[in-house]
Symmetry: C2
């Protein structure tokens, strides 16, 4: 049965309405989940380890007698690294090396302290320091992604975070060896087999056994997302992720089966994932459509792929590549492939995207695993105002100011004038006291 994927054309009179329908995705707030999460958070805050243990045993069907018994030792993590196949280990280590190299460049490009002196000898600058301790949430169960361990832990490690604490639920006690091995490769310091809102609460508030962290990153289900949003402010969080999306801008020069498979690679994540192809060449769109039908039956996850493509996918015929770029900017996609012979012609036109994959050889999947940049990216159009997870998420900045005695003479009258204007006289007086000739303006 052919895949019934939505086909649109920007020249069609109903394009705007159809386009809006295709894009629409609202993160509905589930009040039952919100309420349950608030209860779990309050319980962990109040009862600490005892509450974490209760929820973990109940939700993950375990019979642990203490939270300490849920901690994975470094020996266990290293043992997992020995247990996986040599090919898996080599791939993990190669990916980790490349991810580390990229994030080290990122640290050099924008993660260092800086300062300067102005003409009055006043020092101004910004001190950049790593966070003391962070928590990394790693989903367990059906969607256990070792690559996410690398993508969360390595930027933290490169930033110089003092302690990286991983939490990963192990429903029915099933541990994923690749996830544990990735933790060993990525330099995770401590790891607990706990998950859900109770794990987020333990990290945010601390318990006798689980250390309180300064920030929590990493993806999770609706309970985890709700818990992260709740504890935001007590700790930092990275972002609340929606369904994953890919947008492919094609000029028709890439083998159509490559593009079809790239659309699949997004669609296979889950039924809400979104794959959209924009192209000014109608014949090429038809060839990709034919490849979708040809390739689908051989995919193990064909049911998910079909549901995703039929529910949220779209092939859009545009007037031009320029128009395709404009539509891309309206969508602000998480993943943006510029599958063109001349990607650098289009890249400057693209203002909003989590990651931009240039040229036919740059499949999103290479970026997902090992090109180097982070695969934790802003979804649901939030690339309009947010950024990939990076070293900067594991650092914070402090302004540095050292006003020289000369500088105080120049700055004092300005500050005092503005402070009096705001009715803050102590601010004004504090500035005026530093003037050599201290005569209050109002005197």
């Amino acid at each position: 049965m052919k895949v019934q994927i939505r086909q649109l054309a920007t020249t069609a009179p109903d394009f705007e309405a159809e386009f809006h329908r295709a894009l629409h995705w609202a993160a509905e707030t589930d009040h039952a989940i919100e309420q349950r999460v608030a209860e779990i958070l309050a319980d962990v805050r109040g009862r600490g380890d005892a509450a974490v243990l209760d929820y973990t045993n109940r939700f993950d069907a375990l019979g642990a007698t203490s939270v300490a018994a849920l901690e994975l030792t470094q020996t266990e993590l290293r043992a997992a690294l020995e247990q996986i196949t040599p090919a898996q280990r080599q791939a993990l280590e190669a990916a980790a090396r490349r991810v580390r190299a990229y994030h080290e460049r990122q640290l050099e490009a924008c993660g260092r302290s800086w300062s300067y002196h102005d003409d009055d000898g006043t020092l101004l600058g910004q001190k950049v320091t790593p966070l003391d301790r962070v928590g990394i949430y790693v989903p367990g169960g059906k969607a256990a992604y070792p690559s996410s361990v690398l993508m969360n832990a390595i930027p933290a490690q490169v930033a110089g975070v003092g302690e990286i604490v991983m939490v990963v639920p192990t429903p029915r006690g099933e541990k994923n060896a690749l996830v544990l091995a990735a933790a060993a490769v990525a330099g995770v310091h401590r790891a607990f087999t706990i998950g859900g809102a109770q794990a987020v609460a333990a990290l945010a508030y601390g318990t006798a056994t689980v250390p309180k962290v300064d920030k929590i990153t990493g993806p999770g289900n609706a309970y985890v997302a709700s818990a992260k949003k709740h504890v935001f402010g007590t700790v930092g969080i990275d972002m609340i992720a929606g369904p994953s999306e890919i947008l492919v801008l094609a000029d028709g020069s890439t083998p159509p089966d490559w593009v079809a498979m790239d659309l699949f690679s997004q669609a296979e994540h889950d039924e809400l994932a979104q794959s959209i192809l924009l192209c000014p060449d109608a014949g090429y769109l038809e060839r990709v459509r034919a490849e979708i039908d040809r390739l689908l039956p051989e995919m193990p996850r064909r049911d998910v792929i079909r549901a995703s493509l039929e529910g949220r996918g779209a092939l859009i015929h545009t007037r031009s590549m320029e128009e395709a770029c404009e539509i891309s900017n309206r969508i602000a996609p998480e993943h943006l492939e510029v599958s063109s012979r001349d990607p650098h012609r289009w890249e400057p036109l693209l203002r909003h995207a989590g990651a931009i994959f240039l040229g036919a050889y740059t499949s999103e999947s290479l970026g997902d695993y090992c090109a180097g940049p982070n695969h934790v990216l802003p979804t649901s159009g939030t690339a309009r105002f947010s950024s990939p997870l990076g070293v900067y998420d594991f650092q914070k900045r402090s302004s540095l100011i050292e006003v020289s005695p000369t500088g105080a003479q120049a700055l004092g009258p300005i500050a005092a004038e503005l402070a009096y204007g705001e009715g803050l006289q102590a601010h004004a007086r504090a500035a005026e006291m530093r003037l050599s000739d201290d005569t209050p303006e109002g005197a």
Copy 2:
């Protein structure tokens, strides 16, 4: 009547308990406010301008007939600049110049795109772009701060934001000329005299008259804070500010009246503001205490200052400056003055602070208005994981990846191995299709 400010000593047996009591401040969630804000947001989302107009007329006691009538023209903003005193105008312009110069350094230090090629000819990098449109919330009424207009709008302007939209409530129609003049100086593009949750909703969702923005920054009351937290995800937000705080580390070399006035300058903000002095010299602490009593009667805002110092202030006698630095790290203060003859000896020990003011001449108030760095800083210990408002808050990053044909041969097998390990076969096939010798690993 003497100021009854809390006096602690780290050598006292009950220090930890007393210290904890002094610091404790919990941002209580007010469910009545939350509920009311949710209703206002939903109403503005549904009815647009009509709802904004209703709430504005009701809450601000206005009689406007349209939201368009609530827009301030550029002519009005420029007229305000003419209307204030020449001294005020010069101070505003001088402060704006210095704030702009600092943020331009910040842009140079960490706000530029970068890229490199690896050994395989693969291009990796990060593209940094400004946000298209941002909203700046400026409080009106009793606490109208023109300096906040500069501190929010100038980093956005330096980042290259396309459109800066200011909202400021004008209860009973009273416009603050300094705020309007600051908007003119700071390059605000559009301004509306609306406030509260209804203004946040208008900016987040857009109405027929108020443009939808990508991010909302700026301080506000409990309704505004709640509304910002609600719309987080639909748009970006800066941070949720708690009460303002200052921590002074003193070695006893600064005139004690300067330090007393610096403590006042924080305390005068409001009764919840917190001023703490740490010093290893008991005699110096006593001299500062005496200056507090001597100077207080001459302060116009003495009632607020007294309430703040008695409710939340503390003078803490430490064993050493080193210990004072450790305590400072536990507090992670918004403003941190190192009032020492040798501030550079202590600065490296200070890990968490919004802004660090070095040396006796660097009063916090000089930094608040015109030294250059931003005065929007993380409060309530959030300096452990967050940073001053900056140019980076008005930019976002997109990863750039262009895998060369050679690079695809190196990366493909790594990505495929990891993708098969995660059960994501389309990811693996997309990588394998780019191999010159395309033989699926599983085949």
